[in-house]
Symmetry: C2
Subunit: 246 residues, 2 copies
């Protein structure tokens, strides 16, 4: 599990080649990147960074899932981002990590030493352009999540999370999300509660409630079946965006 059957040293073979921060780079630019990059792996459950840590590198997630989160002194924690393959960790121009990063599954990172990477950003506009685009997308997602955290009920929060995971899973398979789709939750109930600003008991109860209402079916604790996508969307409280079918 987790072993890759491609030569990771070759950017041309990289599974996130077309989506990551390097996606706009031309062959010559990739060669420079290949010189300063190296891989690191983390096992499920391992911390990758603690808030305040000195960061010697920035990185792209190549495989696996990690979480970005914040913890208060008394232990209350809030997840502030979910890092999936192709997502970027770290920020040029900043010495220390702003949030905790934890591997949820086994994770492989493609790391770049920070200083050379920063230098590269000024000489290679394609990297900065792509990073800007990715950061703007993340800012939009973060703002959308603020609505979930601030205004949605527990039931709507759960439905919103399920829908996000469902859409992501469909995108990964290069399919449209559809009625009858099946996917696995990558997160424990506790991780879901940290994401949604709820307790794990409430998460559990609301998932049970959605099952009783036949909005979703469960196979074991993690596998989810969505019999009717529009029903799930209705439960999120968002307006129906028909735009996806086009």
């Amino acid at each position: 599990m987790g072993s890759l059957h491609v030569d990771l040293k070759d950017c041309g073979q990289c599974p996130i080649r077309h989506r990551a921060v390097c996606s706009r780079c031309e062959p010559k630019e990739l060669e420079v990147l290949e010189d300063i990059k190296y891989y690191r792996t983390y096992e499920a459950g391992q911390p990758i960074l603690w808030a305040g840590d000195h960061m010697e590198f920035v990185a792209s997630v190549v495989t696996g899932i990690a979480t970005l989160s914040q913890t208060m002194e008394d232990g209350r924690t809030q997840m502030v981002g979910l890092l999936l393959p192709s997502d970027f960790i770290g920020r040029p121009g900043r010495e220390t990590a702003a949030f905790d990063v934890v591997a949820v599954s086994d994770v492989t990172l493609c790391c770049f030493r920070r200083k050379p990477f920063e230098h590269l950003m000024t000489s290679t506009p394609h990297i900065g352009q792509r990073l800007l685009e990715m950061t703007l997308d993340e800012l939009d997602s973060a703002r959308e999540w603020m609505l979930v955290l601030g205004r949605k009920t527990a039931r709507e929060k759960i439905a919103s999370l399920l829908l996000i995971v469902a859409r992501r899973d469909a995108a990964l398979r290069k399919q449209l999300p559809s009625d009858g789709m099946v996917f696995d939750l990558p997160l424990t109930r506790e991780a879901m509660s940290d994401y949604l600003g709820l307790t794990l008991e409430t998460v559990s109860r609301q998932i049970s409630a959605l099952r009783k209402s036949e909005v979703v079916e469960l196979e074991g604790k993690r596998r989810v079946i969505v019999p009717d996508l529009d029903t799930l969307i209705a439960e999120t409280g968002d307006d129906v965006d028909g735009g996806l079918i086009a």
Copy 2:
């Protein structure tokens, strides 16, 4: 009120010259910007953009305060950002607005037609670099706000908002926030509730409670006095960051 005693056409005189998206530009680059820029003003309470609107321009806030918010079908509203002088509105490469933008006070925008601006971004790296930096900062703020929305109590939320406004106000005067500082709340109770994910009644009650606890004093409805800054910080639930005194 709102009339500026400077020639706005001259970027050299612009009050946000050193912080806005154009702050890295050299004189020659500013000349290009001056060709495509124009000013628009909005009165307090006026909408600037609705989510979904076609955007023909991107802009910098020159003076005044605006809010960025999202509304659900049933009317629940969440503010997702507060736009202050030098903040940027819009996003290169996107046709439509993602959120509602409303002027809270009288607002002046420095607008750039979107297409020429996008073109400029590829030819003038300084703009993209600065925009990346600003966007990364906003992403960090958005993520910090997610902790407030997801995990803080009503009292902590109010204290967090007061502290943010206090710090911003101090920064505007180029002072450090200090004991005994006085500032005005730019927002109504309702706008605060939209920001904090509360009802306006709860906002009112918690402000009264903080006053009874002598964490703050009020002069009228809007003017706030902070007798002891550390007391206010303690009420936010955040760890005390001594870093500011250095």
